[in-house]
Structure formats: C-alpha cells, structure tokens
C-alpha cells in the first residue's frame, strides 16, 4: 500500500464559520453584510447538508400582526415549552424580539413564510395555549440561504470537515480535512463561529444494524461540541437527554406535521388533547411526552398509532403539502409505493434513541466562554428559528469583534495543522486495525448500557472506564481506506469527546429532574434549582461546575 501524504493549504480570513445550516449560513450572511471577509466551511455541501437538508416547516416566531402587540405571552410560552429552565429569560426575549425580522428577511429572499397570503400557525401547540410555530415552506431554504451568502461575498468551501480549533485562550482559526482529496486546510481567522448541528450516532438508533436510519441527519456528529471542548471552551447541561419520536421504523423528525390522533390498538387516544384529526394541533401529546410510545410498548399496551382516519380531504392535502416542506419526501414516496393510505391505515410511531440536549455554552450575543469563539444553532438545542436568529446575531457580533484585532497567529496554526496531519496520516497509512464502524458501534453500546436510561454511580463509573479503553484503542488502531472513511474516523473521535463529557455531567447531576433520571437519586434536589451545569476540559478529562442561571 502506498503511503498517503496530505497536501496542505492555508486560508486566511476575518470570520470562519464552521457548518452551513440555517445558523451558519445566517451568521455568514450577516458577517458578510457587515463587510467582514467570511469563509464558511461545510463537510458536505451547504445546498443540502445537515438536518434541514430538504426542508422544515415550523418556525417559532412572534408575529405582531398575528399575536398582537403584547409579546410577553409568546416569550412565556417559548420559555416554558422550548427553552425550559436552561436558558435565561433575556435569551428567549432576544430570540422572540428578533424572530419577526428574520421571518421577513427569509420571505424577501424567496423562502415563503406565509401560506395563502397569511401567517399560518399550526402544530406543536396545545389547545388553549398560544400558537408559536409558524408554518413556512422550507423545502429550498438551504439553496436560497447559500445564494444569499454568496451574494455577500462569503467564500463557501464544501466537503471540508473542520476538526480542531486553533487557540491559545484566544481563537486563531481551525484545521480541517478534505472529505474527498488527501488534503489538510489551515484556516486562520480572527473570529470563529461554530454551527455544526446536533449529535447523532451517539446512541444506537431504531435499527442497530442500519446505523444511518436516524431522525436527524446522521452526518451531524457533535463536531462543534467536541472541537469546543478540546479547545477549552465551556459546554452546558450535556447530561440532559433529548429524544425524538416519529414513524416506526422509518426514523424521521417532523411528527408535528402529521394531522392525526395518537391512539392505542383499541383506538383510544393516548393523550387528552385531540380526539379527531385537527390541522391546527396535530396531536401535541408527543411534544410533552415523547416516551409515550416506548412506555406503551414496555407495558404491553402498545403499539401506539398515528391515526389519520376521519381526516377531511382538504386537511389530508394540507398535511401532504407540508410533509414535502418538512423534508419528509421519502416518507411520502414510501407511503405511495407501499400503498399505505393514511386516510385508512394508522401508522405506528415510536420513541427514538437518546442524544444530548446540551451543548456549547453561548449567550444571547452568540458568544461562547472563549474570546473570539461564537456558536449558534443546534450547538445547543434550539431548532430552526433559534438557529437562524442566533446565527444572525453571532455573525453580526463576530464581524464587530474583529475590528482592531491583531492577525491570527500563523505559528499556532502551523502547530495545529501538524498535529492533525500526523493523526490523519497515521489513520490512512495504518495497514492493520479496526474500521470506524467498530468504534462507533462500541461507543453506542457503552452509551446505551451505561449512560442510557438506567443511570447510576456504579454504572457510570464502569461505563466511563470502558469508554476510555475504547478511546485509547481508537487513537491507536482506527484505520481508513480513503478520505470518506477518514472523515467517519474523525467523527468517531468527536463522538468519543462528547461521550466523555456526557459521562462527567451525568455523574455530577445527582438528582432526578424532568427528563433527566438517576436511579440512585430518584428525587429532585432543590439545591440545583436555577443552576446550570458547566463542563470543560481539565488536566485529566472533563471537569464540572455548577453556576447560577442569570438574567
């Protein structure tokens, strides 16, 4: 086998954006508009990358023409249903204040934010509560945002996975690896914005033998969280679990786009909110109780079906229309091919696997704990609207930040690139070893068995020790036949970093609260009220710290 040597390229810019979803593209657009030189790097292609690849149809927003002049009820509803107690009210307020501006911007760029000429709110809503989810036609959101970024001079570099941040307390850029060619990139930048999305492939999915069957894009592997952690930035509430639910076994988000009633096998609704298909609400029981499907199955009462029987022809067309904007094209095609008629056939739903709800700590200015490092979007869960709003804010603030800042340290860049180069060349040139799949599967089983549903001190200790063994072996034995496999190897390193943080944070939260459970501490500990759990890199692995939630 020939020896692989990576070619190198150095690219200098003002602002580097890592990840080209709604958050990253909006950040790049605003930073470009402020006159900054912007490079956006995406490990796929910004036209169709990430979980919003082929669309979304819900956008949390406060629209004065729809809601009236009082924003407070909407802020309160968002705080209660979305941000929970993990975000200060100032964050939610900024989000809602800005949301209408973003909505108008998107609409003017050609992402239709109105339906039949009106603001349409439906889904993700409980009868009697305020509507917060604006329906929008997001099928082409990514190509449109890409076009807008290019118009503002943003240089988009596709198929490059950023892998390490360059920092010495201050940020100097990042090192990336090409997903197709044998090439390493050093990006020198005065400010960096992380926007790489969520953390998929951390726990086993619905089909363990089919790793890419996932509700969210399996290409989003916590890269931003891992990079931030390894560079010394703070992460927040990584112990908090998040689970989605949707059709069984075709894993896909977007349950609020379905217009039906969730019923047990005897046709009894499993929730109290709707008794017949209603396009305004869908069935919001699965918003507040995503585990309902798993719990019904475990207790022998399942399965639970999404039952659209009784839907009007008009509402059926409405549902299918929105499915095509929510990125459910393949589900719509599959229904047609298998002759599954939602007007007649209830479809089984399931609770999907766990991931972390926590992520990179960033405030309402998009600032992380590290000077010059910004983050937005699902670096810390928020959804499309939060992603685009805080992406926009982070981009604007990064562009202001760079004024008067000295050039990034090329020496630090060189050192960073050398380290990544030697790691990836080792992986590519290793003749014997194990594939990325072996390590990803090993990681998933540790997460499921030791940091999954039953969480306790003894399990966490045993699991963490095994995880470290897997990690050690990964650095010594993982091998890749080509750049495609190499990127998966790097993703596994990132997932291993994220896993370590989760173990540390879960061990620290000795209580049971909301969706977070510890079987050895089955009660809420009021000492932790109004506190957030920070995790960062210490000398011997992750260290944690409790902090007051302010604002």
């Amino acid at each position: 086998m020939e020896t692989k040597n990576m070619a190198e390229e150095i690219i200098e810019t003002d602002v580097l954006v890592i990840g080209g979803g709604p958050a990253g593209l909006m950040a790049a657009i605003n930073a470009g508009e402020q006159g900054a030189n912007v490079v956006l790097v995406d490990k796929a292609n910004t036209q169709r990358s990430g979980s919003g690849a082929t669309g979304n149809d819900h956008f949390r927003a406060y629209i004065p023409e729809f809601h009236g002049s009082d924003m407070d009820p909407i802020v309160k509803e968002i705080a209660q249903s979305q941000a929970g107690w993990t975000r200060p009210m100032s964050f939610v307020r900024t989000w809602m204040e800005k949301s209408f501006e973003i909505v108008k911007m998107w609409d003017s760029w050609g992402i239709p934010m109105k339906y039949n000429g009106k603001w349409e709110f439906a889904g993700h809503t409980f009868p009697g509560r305020p509507f917060t989810a604006l329906k929008y036609s997001g099928k082409d959101q990514k190509p449109i945002l890409t076009k807008e970024a290019k118009k503002r001079g943003v240089k988009i570099i596709n198929r490059v996975a950023a892998f390490e941040l360059i920092s010495d307390g201050r940020i100097h850029g990042a090192v990336g690896v090409h997903a197709r060619d044998d090439k390493i990139y050093t990006f020198l930048a005065r400010a960096v914005i992380l926007s790489t999305g969520g953390c998929v492939r951390l726990y086993p999915g619905p089909t363990p033998g089919w790793m890419f069957n996932r509700a969210d894009s399996p290409h989003t592997t916590g890269d931003g969280r891992a990079m931030a952690y390894r560079a010394g930035a703070e992460l927040i509430n990584m112990e908090m679990p998040m689970r989605w639910a949707g059709p069984k076994y075709f894993a896909r988000c977007g349950k609020a786009t379905w217009v039906g009633v969730l019923r047990d096998p005897n046709d009894k609704p499993v929730g109290p909110f709707v008794t017949k298909p209603d396009r305004l609400y869908g069935d919001p029981i699965s918003d507040s109780y995503k585990e309902v499907f798993e719990d019904y199955t475990k207790t022998g009462k399942g399965p639970v079906y999404m039952d659209c029987r009784g839907i009007s022809e008009e509402d059926y067309e409405y549902m299918i229309h929105w499915m095509k904007h929510e990125g459910l094209h393949s589900i719509v095609n599959h229904l047609k091919e298998e002759r599954i008629d939602l007007k007649k056939n209830p479809v089984e739903f399931m609770t999907y696997e766990m991931t972390t709800r926590g992520g990179v700590y960033f405030n309402e200015n998009g600032e992380t704990s590290m000077e010059g490092l910004y983050a937005a979007g699902d670096e810390y869960f928020g959804g499309i609207s939060a992603a685009s709003t805080f992406g926009w804010i982070a981009g604007g603030n990064a562009a202001s930040f760079i004024a008067g800042k000295s050039a990034p340290d090329a020496g630090a860049g060189k050192a960073g690139a050398t380290a990544v180069k030697s790691l990836v060349e080792e992986i590519r040139n290793r003749k014997n070893g194990a594939s990325w799949q072996e390590f990803n599967v090993a990681l998933q089983q540790v997460m499921y068995d030791y940091a999954g549903i039953p969480r306790s001190d003894t399990l966490l200790k045993a699991g963490f020790s095994h995880l470290l063994k897997v990690k050690q072996k990964a650095y010594k034995e993982m091998r890749a036949n080509n750049q495609h496999e190499l990127i998966h190897c790097l993703e596994v390193f990132n997932l291993l970093s994220v896993a370590e943080i989760i173990f540390a944070a879960v061990s620290e939260r000795k209580e049971t609260r909301e969706k977070f459970t510890r079987i050895d501490y089955p009660y809420k500990n009021p000492v932790f009220n109004d506190k957030i759990l920070i995790c960062k890199k210490g000398d011997n692995g992750p260290v944690t710290e409790w902090r007051e939630l302010k604002g």
């Binding site: 796929a44 292609n45 036209q47 169709r48 990358s49 990430g50 690849a53 082929t54 099928k139 198929r159 997903a179 197709r180 089909t207 033998g209 089919w210 790793m211 890419f212 069957n213 996932r214 894009s217 399996p218 290409h219 059709p247 069984k248 076994y249 075709f250 894993a251 399965p303 079906y305 990125g327 094209h329 393949s330 589900i331 095609n333 599959h334 229904l335 091919e337 298998e338 599954i340 056939n345 209830p346 479809v347 089984e348 080509n482 750049q483 495609h484």
Partner: protein, 71 residues
C-alpha cells in the same frame, strides 16, 4: 439499496454527486454515471431526487429494515 440510477435517463451532470450530504457517491468520476459507493449511508433526504434535472433518472429505495409498520 438506495439510491438507484437509471443509466438510460441519467445525463451524467453530477449534481447528485455534488450535493449528497452523506457523500454516498464518493469516488464518482466526472461525466460518468455516479457510482453508489456507500448506499447504507443514505439518509433518504431525497436531495438527489429533488435536484436531478432528468425526470426518473434517480430514485430512492426504502431498505427493508425501514419499512413502515401500519395496520
């Protein structure tokens, strides 16, 4: 396994290769029918079908483990 390309209809424009988020077409060569190197990594986002300029040149097949359960 997904995706499936109809060689007669495919114009070898390379758009699907360019766009696929999972890069299932890794290793494909320009002006040749895309090679499906990593079919098991398809996420069924449907980008290749949506953005293909030649109607019917590409489709996605649902793998058997992903068949919807229904009654």
């Amino acid at each position: 396994m997904p995706p499936i390309i109809n060689e007669e209809k495919c114009t070898r424009c390379g758009i699907c290769v360019d766009l696929c988020p999972q890069d299932v077409f890794f290793g494909s060569e320009e002006k040749k029918t895309p090679q499906i190197a990593y079919p098991e990594e398809c996420w069924h986002c449907n980008a290749c079908v949506l953005d293909c300029p030649a109607l019917g040149a590409i489709r996605l097949r649902t793998p058997i483990p992903m068949l919807l359960c229904h009654r």
